[in-house]
């Protein structure tokens, strides 16, 4: 199994899913910012929409992070964490919270990530009006999450599921921003904070974020090194794809 990926929250979500399932996979780093996912070869072979992550499992090539994690949850039902409720009604609630992530949460969270992390990295100016608007709107949305997580430990009910999984990566990025207002959106809400802390201590998340953080720190310096520390057995270069083999410990 190969995962072609970059650094955005969607990529972390796909990795998180793979680690929850305890699956072995090869990471192929695609430099989205440098336009590597828009090359003719990438569009033709992997994703005509020019985006990562893309999962290769045998003959199957899958993109869209929620389709990837859904596939992993169903195909690899019997291994690792169970990410899907069995009961159709509980599963419908999980689907609903995945849609809520897409329609209510993501538009504002992704604006914050774009304005406060991606644009500075690209050397572009942050639109602070956009940031303020997104903070306000996200605050209203998070009030509803706060109420929900007061009734149940996880979004779909009693157990961790795909619905929770897809929220952690963007929240992880929000908590790394310098803007106090953004961090406050999470920390001023005790139920949400408890939920986030619980998820952050999951072994699969720790695996996801350790490797991810390494690259994140490097991109903050606006360059990628030619070679990582030998103990990681990793090689990377700016213009070429990177392959990392992660084992399942």
């Amino acid at each position: 199994m190969k995962l072609h990926c970059g650094l955005t929250a969607e990529n972390l979500a796909a990795k998180f899913g793979l680690h929850e399932k305890g699956l072995d996979f090869e990471v192929v780093f695609v430099d989205w910012v440098a336009g590597e996912s828009k090359t003719k070869a990438f569009l033709a072979n992997f994703n005509p929409f020019g985006q990562v992550p893309v999962l290769e499992d045998g003959d199957l090539k899958l993109f869209e992070s929620k389709a990837i994690t859904r596939y992993l949850a169903e195909q690899y039902r019997d291994v690792g964490t169970d990410l899907l409720p069995n009961d159709p009604k509980e599963r419908a609630i999980m689907s609903m919270w995945m849609e809520i992530n897409t329609n209510q949460f993501h538009p504002f969270a992704s604006t914050l990530i774009r304005e406060l992390i991606i644009k500075p990295y690209q050397g572009l100016a942050t639109d602070f009006t956009s940031v303020q608007e997104s903070e306000m709107k996200l605050s209203e949305v998070l009030n509803i999450y706060e109420a929900r997580l007061g009734e149940f430990p996880y979004l779909a009910g009693e157990s961790f599921s795909l619905a929770d999984l897809h929220h952690l990566p963007p929240i992880h990025y929000m908590l790394r921003m310098e803007e106090e207002g953004v961090k406050d959106l999470i920390y001023s809400r005790p139920n949400i904070t408890a939920w986030v802390e619980k998820m952050k201590s999951r072994p699969a998340w720790l695996k996801t974020v350790v490797k991810g953080d390494h690259i994140f720190e490097l991109t903050k310096q606006r360059r990628l090194p030619i070679q990582f520390d030998a103990s990681c057995h990793e090689l990377t270069s700016v213009a070429q794809t990177t392959t990392m083999v992660t084992g399942n410990n």
Partner: protein, 252 residues
């Protein structure tokens, strides 16, 4: 079925056919689906389409969007995000049209039109992927175009032609990918009509009455696909406000 069982069954079927409202009322009572929404709303129509494809009965309950009913406390207790539609199934209150359509398609997968591709996990994964593509790549532009050109005029607001131009340019790129895909596959996910195609219907239908129509017409495969999916009986009924909503008894 043995002969001894078939007589009472045939009588019941005959009675049901003579009194269609009774049949519907019985089924509504048995299923108990209540659909809170508005027959004009794209998201409500998405759910209506699936209900008709499956031949399922439901009780429509109008939420007066123009009067702001969806932002009032009584509705917010159904969906705190203040949006239609909401499906009530017993204790289950489900919002988000694409979660509702998937729920119905799974629970009633052996009935009516097959809207999923359950052959294997791989085929379902491709279907899920195309549903995500509709939601992430197509809908953002299509729904803005519907908003600017169809909804705003109804509320007496002016269409912003710059926004229309920008979103059409983005939608063109998406439809180029669709054109290629529909050259390889009869429908988006596979060779049969599925939820992945159905989810596109509400916005496409509205956009066919606007200049944006030309984006679909200019691409032969997309044009054929649009024609095929919008011609479906179930979709036509979902768009018929009398048939799908106001004509149903028990509707407030």
């Amino acid at each position: 079925m043995s002969n001894t069982n078939s007589l009472p069954m045939d009588c019941l079927k005959m009675v049901f056919n003579l009194f269609p409202n009774w049949k519907r009322a019985t089924e509504v009572k048995k299923l108990g689906y209540k659909l809170h929404g508005n027959p004009f709303s794209t998201n409500t129509r998405r759910v209506l389409a699936v209900l008709f494809e499956k031949g399922l009965s439901y009780e429509p309950i109008t939420v007066d969007l123009k009067a702001g009913e969806h932002k009032k406390d009584s509705f917010l207790s159904l969906n705190p995000f203040g949006q239609v539609p909401v499906l009530e199934d017993g204790n289950l209150k489900l919002s988000e049209s694409r979660a509702i359509t998937q729920y119905i398609a799974y629970v009633h997968s052996s009935r009516g039109t097959q809207l999923l591709n359950l052959q294997s996990h791989e085929t379902m994964a491709i279907l899920t992927m195309w549903m995500e593509i509709e939601a992430h790549q197509f809908d953002p532009f299509a729904s803005k175009l519907t908003w600017e050109q169809v909804i705003k005029p109804i509320f007496g607001l002016e269409t912003d032609h710059m926004v229309v131009k920008e979103n059409e340019a983005c939608l063109e790129k998406v439809l180029d990918v669709y054109e290629k895909r529909l050259g390889e596959s009869r429908f988006l996910a596979c060779n049969t009509f599925t939820l992945a195609d159905l989810h596109h219907l509400p916005n496409i239908q509205f956009l066919l009455d606007t200049p944006t129509k030309r984006l679909f017409e200019n691409r032969p495969k997309v044009r054929n696909w649009v024609h095929e999916i919008t011609s479906r009986e179930a979709w036509k009924m979902a768009c018929d406000q009398e048939e799908s909503w106001f004509g149903k008894s028990g509707n407030k």
